[in-house]
């Protein structure tokens, strides 16, 4: 049987100061880990949740984002009656030409960010079925009216219903607020596409087209048709694929976060190691006694490893508690792929909590391994002499 757990727990409590210092260090590392991962999860989620499973996005061939894409009206006309596109109850194809442009918007403090103003037609709300008006009404065409994503409301000046926004060459009246289930559309302003075309003087073209697949439609056939039809000659992919590529930003943040966490974790490992070495040194005669009583070297190794593990996991739990208030915290991020600012919420998911505990446990195991091995290797007679 192993050395009882209460021996380890009470020994940790007896050394309150060193235990607290080490636990504090590990807790802070875990808190930083949780915060970074929550940011990455929130960002990734904001990007990937933007897509709808049965929607496709059509771009100019070779374009990697909407920013680098342009579609002519005749290309749009050639594709809008393709049989794979779903029809609404009135029989109209659910296809949404769109023109996102970047405008500078002012924060209440005076700073400015690039925000996407997406020119769309009213059909957009049917195609993007994760987008819903939560206040006000839809804009009316040709009246310089806009609806605002809820991620912008209050974060930027003049974003409430009834306010007048100033960007481009005109003044735009806010008539509605929309929700996009946490997706990046919530960080956009939507306006009538023809108003946007006129205001930006870009002529009659679109940046991209979104379409909803008819139930059971062969998406591969549609992709090939859009690519191979000389009248269309564009590239199509599912929104899921498109936003997966966009989430490279989140993945890069994740790698960066992991590197920071690992470097901090190494520091915490040394702190844990120092504490456990001190524990072994202070309890040498106890180790000798346990060994003399018949506890095996492996039992001693296990006992000190478990002690280190208890310390680290308890600290990990504290770190998670410290970081928890960040859950749901809303912030913005400058997406270098779209040259625009995106609002998103930090998300402390169950997976992140589990990862944080595993991270803490790994710090405990690495920090405890060498001291525990030293405890295991103590010669009984030598250890007892320290009495």
């Amino acid at each position: 049987m192993a050395i009882p757990l209460k021996y380890n727990v009470r020994s940790l409590l007896v050394r309150r100061v060193s235990t607290s210092m080490t636990a504090g260090g590990i807790a802070l590392v875990v808190a930083v880990f949780v915060i970074v991962m929550a940011m990455v999860a929130g960002l990734g989620s904001a990007i990937s949740d933007t897509g709808v499973p049965d929607n496709m996005i059509v771009l100019r061939k070779g374009a990697t984002t909407e920013t680098y894409s342009s579609i002519q009206l005749d290309q749009f006309d050639a594709m809008k009656f393709l049989p794979q596109i779903k029809r609404d109850t009135a029989g109209a194809p659910m296809i949404s030409p769109e023109l996102p442009v970047q405008v500078l918007m002012e924060r209440p403090g005076g700073a400015q960010d690039n925000i996407v103003v997406r020119g769309v037609l009213p059909i957009a709300l049917e195609v993007h079925d994760n987008v819903h008006l939560i206040a006000g009404r839809m804009f009316r065409p040709a009246l310089n009216e806009v609806i605002v994503g809820k991620g912008l409301v209050g974060r930027y000046s003049n974003t409430h219903i009834g306010d007048t926004m100033h960007f481009g060459r005109g003044a735009w009246k806010v008539v509605g607020i929309f929700d996009a289930k946490g997706g990046s559309f919530e960080s956009e302003v939507w306006a009538d596409i023809h108003n946007v075309q006129d205001d930006t003087q870009r002529g009659a073209y679109y940046a991209d087209v979104r379409l909803k697949l008819a139930p059971g439609a062969d998406s591969d056939a549609l992709v090939h048709r859009i690519a191979d039809d000389p009248r269309i000659n564009l590239q199509a992919e599912t929104e899921a694929e498109y936003y997966k590529q966009q989430s490279v930003v989140a993945n890069q943040m994740r790698v960066l976060g992991m590197i920071v966490a690992i470097i901090m974790g190494i520091g915490a490992i040394f702190a844990a190691m120092n504490t456990m070495y001190a524990a072994v040194s202070a309890r040498t005669s106890e180790i000798g006694t346990l060994r003399a009583l018949g506890f095996s070297p492996g039992a001693v190794l296990g006992s000190f490893l478990i002690e280190s593990l208890i310390l680290a996991v308890a600290a990990g739990i504290i770190g998670i508690i410290i970081a928890m208030p960040i859950n749901g915290f809303s912030t913005t991020f400058g997406n270098f792929l779209t040259f625009s600012t995106m609002a998103f919420n930090f998300r402390v998911t169950f997976a992140i909590v589990v990862e944080a505990l595993i991270f803490a446990a790994v710090m405990g195991l690495f920090g405890g391994w060498l001291p525990a091995r030293q405890a295991m290797r103590l010669h009984v007679v030598e250890a007892l002499r320290r009495s």
Partner: protein, 243 residues
């Protein structure tokens, strides 16, 4: 090897290496302790008493020679096997008690029982019995810091006898105690030996111990220089004779 001997040590040599020097702690020592005896190993500091006791307790290895305890030769045992053997056969009492400070008297006494297949209920019964024998049934929940030196040593003796070991080895059990407590501990060890017929091997400097033991083995500079009968006090002698 004869099973009538609780301890059978033949031509044991123990050499320690200290940097480039070799220290001959024991030099060709042969000792046979019959079953159920209370013996003392005495001698000046550095005479090899504790080294001999450590060999008997299986916490040190002889450089050469044979060590058998309870009829089992332990000389060539591997450390893991030796640890299990100690748990079954040896009860240890140390000069400084060596109780685990974060465990209560009950929990300290229970420690060696965790290495046995006893159930929790059985362990509790054994521990309570052991603490009752040493007169500390009312101190079960006390931590070592809440006990006097004599009481701590009593707990250590309870821990040594709780597994019903083949042999109890005690290293200077009275060395850190006042005269009254030392007397009580020696009486307790004597009772353990006489009443429960446990073999007790004790290393001591304390000349009073001679009044309690059957045999005194004298060591000097690692060599056995004498074996003498103890000077058992009349009360103890009467008890011994009655058995």
């Amino acid at each position: 090897m004869d099973e009538k001997y609780a301890v059978d040590i033949e031509h044991v040599v123990r050499i320690y290496k200290r940097d480039e020097f070799e220290v001959r702690a024991l030099d060709d020592v042969t000792i046979r302790v019959p079953q159920a005896r209370f013996v003392a190993i005495m001698g000046p500091s550095g005479s090899g008493k504790t080294t001999l006791l450590n060999l008997i307790a299986g916490i040190d290895h002889a450089t050469s020679g044979k060590v058998s305890v309870g009829g089992e030769e332990i000389t060539g045992m591997k450390e893991r096997d030796l640890a299990a053997w100690r748990a079954r056969h040896i009860g240890l009492v140390f000069q400084f008690y060596n109780l685990i400070p974060v465990l209560t008297a009950f929990e300290n006494v229970e420690l060696p029982l965790l290495l046995t297949p006893l159930t929790k209920t059985e362990r509790r019964e054994h521990v309570e019995t052991a603490l009752r024998i040493v007169g500390l049934a009312d101190r079960m929940d006390h931590y070592p810091r809440q006990l006097s030196g004599g009481q701590e040593q009593r707990v250590a003796i309870a821990r040594a006898l709780v597994t019903d070991p083949t042999i109890v080895v005690a290293d200077e059990p009275t060395g850190d105690l006042d005269a009254k407590s030392a007397e009580e501990i020696l009486n307790l060890l004597t009772e353990l030996n006489r009443q429960f017929r446990r073999t007790v091997v004790m290393v001591t400097h304390d000349p009073r111990a001679e009044r309690f033991v059957d045999t005194v083995y004298r060591l000097d500079k690692g060599v056995l220089v004498g074996v003498e009968a103890g000077k058992i006090a009349p009360a103890h002698a009467a008890a011994a004779t009655a058995q």
